[in-house]
């Protein structure tokens, strides 16, 4: 990969890496290659740094729209795998811990009960999804 010489190009590249990091790999790589190529070409053409930065700023909303268009369907599809359930499971005990720490001495808060049951329930869901996945293969 060719190094970018100008700070403005590196900044735009950093922004591109940041917003593409939440998208699926094929579209992420395509987008990064495309932007990298544009930046390299603009440097070669001697385009002023502030113009490159301004163009990136104007396109930021479009970039976010692109991310939503790619990431949301992928996020939806991920719920057919155990990964999101495993990621969500520890949040239940952690929130119960936080709530119990904030309500020391008081009667048990509803959130503590949800925290106690939610983790196990989410892990069970992850196991069910995993078994379905295995059966389908």
């Amino acid at each position: 990969m060719t190094a970018l010489a100008r700070r403005s190009s590196r900044l735009v590249w950093g922004w591109c890496v940041a917003y593409t990091s939440v998208t699926p790999q094929p579209s992420r790589e395509r987008r990064r290659d495309e932007i990298r190529s544009h930046l390299w070409e603009s440097e070669r053409a001697g385009l002023a740094g502030h113009r490159v930065a301004f163009a990136a700023l104007r396109g930021a909303l479009h970039d976010l729209g692109w991310v939503i268009g790619r990431a949301l369907p992928a996020l939806g599809r991920s719920f057919a795998t155990p990964a999101p359930y495993v990621a969500l499971a520890p949040l239940f005990p952690l929130q119960a811990w936080l709530v119990s720490a904030l309500t020391v001495g008081a009667t048990a808060h509803l959130a503590e009960g949800i925290g106690g049951i939610g983790g196990g329930a989410t892990l069970t869901l992850a196991a069910v999804v995993w078994m379905f996945q295995r059966r389908r293969r």
Binding site: V86, P90, G105, G119, L123
Partner: protein, 79 residues
């Protein structure tokens, strides 16, 4: 040691199961008021669960940091 970094997904699943399981265990003998909990005969089991829960959370944080550092180092070496 290398094995847990070679398959981080499996390691995370084990840690998550530990977090949820130990948190559930911590409720044993600790589900009443403070006064009731003091007189519980199985409170020690809940205390072990609570300590193990805290250690699991700590292990998850340490593992995540180590994984990030290793990935960053590998990327630097490859570049």
């Amino acid at each position: 040691m290398q094995h847990i970094f070679a398959r981080p997904k499996v390691t995370y699943v084990v840690l998550v199961v530990a977090i949820v399981g130990f948190f559930a265990l911590s409720a044993v003998g600790n589900s009443g008021t403070d006064e009731q909990n003091k007189h519980s005969s199985v409170g020690w089991l809940g205390s072990i669960g609570w300590i193990a829960f805290l250690l699991s959370v700590l292990a998850t944080i340490v593992f995540s940091v180590m994984l990030l550092v290793r990935t960053a180092r590998r990327r630097k070496a490859a570049a």
